[in-house]
Symmetry: C4
Subunit: 214 residues, 4 copies
């Protein structure tokens, strides 16, 4: 698993730095994960409180399906010594998405437009996005006539409750590619980190477009 | 043709990465092409589904005037082995522009402002842009008093029909430098990739200016 | 102190260049400082009138608690010869924050949104920011339900008076993480430069979100 | 003069690329110049039609006070052979500013906000900017209470007439640091390129702030 981890860590860092540059992961906000193994579940995840613009592979951590930190030797491409850290507080949401959707990677961003729309549309329970060619970049979508419903979940600091609500939402909207936490940010995922990153770019674009016309 | 291809591929990659950085090609959206030969027509084009921010010369493909992939050896400057791929689904629109306008390069971007205006002005059939000095950067325009009409074409997944509509639009507006696909994005072109890139920058600028005052 | 200074100067330069790239320190505006010693107080600070996008470690200066320039040899990592300069005119505000809050670093940015909101909310005496997950990135904040009050101080060129008003404000709002100078910009701080930078990113994000919805 | 030219050309290229990255010189718009000699007047200036994002020192040209291209050997730092080119069409405006203000460098940008405000305030003849700390970055300004009047000149393709109108405006507003051409862009200047760049950043910031609140 170590070599696999080294490459995955490098890709997590590369994507994180790029999204920070766009202003979608400011102030240590947001987090990213990628599946290393399914049985038993092993996730590589960004640590709590890290500046994503200066993230290093040595900061990426292992967790299991209970979100517990796994203290196995981590080999990084740069041969830097692993930095001790705490997995992201929102690890349970990553694990929930991975298990419910079979996702290979999960990305959570905090953009200004996602934050605004998650509040504006909170009473409607979600943001409806329809009729954009850009939607075709979402996995399985073949026409701009597609209607994407991005559910909004009320924000909470009670992580077990939030994970439980999320599980219900993922069941209720089986074809949703993403969800918003109110006044918090966007979660999306993909079969791998590349697809998850593509989904972030598409959804952030669409939320900005919706935000500017609303 | 191989050496010509290698340089063209490098320039396509360079322009694509730059436009992705500006947020105009997010989420694998958009595509770029450049003419390699006229008789018979040979186009270098970006593949379907590529992340333009990480595009490599090895991903650039050849197509003919029927948009068929040409399986000739491709030589890349980096000596990377060509990556198998599928030409962009919108290749017929690139070929249509090249044939109708004699263009040497075609660029299709997806920006937030182009997307918004393509919907706001859809019922009027196009966006009128007039009186800006920036217009003088469009090929053949010598005064800011120029009136540019950017036709809007209803979006469709039926590519032959869309190409046919586009041909009519190109005939109807022989001096247009660009067109919009509704809620989809901008197409523009030039004698070469340099001019096509210049036209992208000018039109995206003008659409943002129009969008912010409308 | 010299080695400590060299590293601190390098970090000040790195943060300054990054914030300039985001457009938050345009036109030589803004300034940054970091504590080198507490007893007696020694601050490394950016010089007056420097282009933060081209800042060099050789331009960073020492000052004492009276904001007087200290003419001790400065060792820079690059071994460039120290460039003579004048400490930022706003040094008294940096010293005031360091003494009142025990801060290890202070950053002052000029962003468009901070400038706008500092005027819009001037009559209310401050900007109230509440209910955003992003608030949790502020030191000591553990829930998005936190209510942050960012006091607004009337701008002035009379630096002793401004420092005196600032001292009153810091006493009156002991839990504030930042303040705005009206039509001028944002001041925030942290235990170290890393935390101060995190606070800048968080507050600039929140002010932009508030600005776009107001 | 050759060595002086080489360094000046390098600085012009560096500033031009940076301003292009910010989106203020898109599509070959805008131009920059710096004085090499006063008696007789010699200006280094960007060529007509150049992509500022890919500008090379070999493209920078000499002109005299009649804006005539000077065919002297140009030495570039990179030892690239000088590229033949045509001086910017707006060279007469650069020369007018240099002579009227004694400026050492002139920068002309095309930003979205400057373009919008130059039209919105055209009937008032200029944009009044007052009360911002950022104003203190303009040469000679010592307080945010400063009132800057940025005159707006009607755009024209008749360059001699435009230069003549400009001369009247420069006489009428002897303390103006900049002017706008309607629906065209911003001109500002400084004792040297560094100051001119600082003025660009300050004025673009202020115009954006004014544009967002108006």
């Amino acid at each position: 698993m170590s070599e696999n981890f080294a490459e995955t860590a490098l890709r997590l860092v590369s994507v994180a730095r790029g999204l920070h540059a766009r202003g979608w992961l400011l102030g240590t906000s947001g987090n990213l994960s990628a599946v290393l193994d399914r049985e038993p579940l092993r996730l590589a995840i960004t640590p709590s409180g890290a500046d994503k613009g200066e993230l290093e592979t040595s900061q990426i951590l292992f967790i299991d399906e209970l979100c517990k930190y796994i203290d196995e030797p981590r080999v990084t491409l740069s041969n830097d010594r692993p930095v001790p850290g705490k997995p992201s507080d929102e690890s349970p949401l990553h694990v929930a998405v991975v298990k419910a959707r079979g996702a290979g990677a999960v990305i959570h961003t905090h953009s200004v437009w996602a934050t605004i729309l998650s509040d504006v549309y909170a009473n409607e329970g979600g943001v409806e996005i329809e009729g954009y060619e850009m939607l075709k970049g979402l996995d399985g979508v073949t026409t701009h006539l597609h209607r994407e419903w991005v559910p909004i979940i009320e924000n909470s600091q009670d992580m077990p409750t939030l994970a439980s609500t999320l599980n219900e939402v993922l069941v209720k909207y089986p074809s949703a590619h993403a969800f918003l936490l109110r006044r918090h940010g966007l979660y999306t995922w993909g079969r791998d980190l590349k697809e998850a990153k593509r989904h972030v770019e598409i959804l952030e674009f669409l939320l900005e477009a919706e935000g500017r016309i609303s």
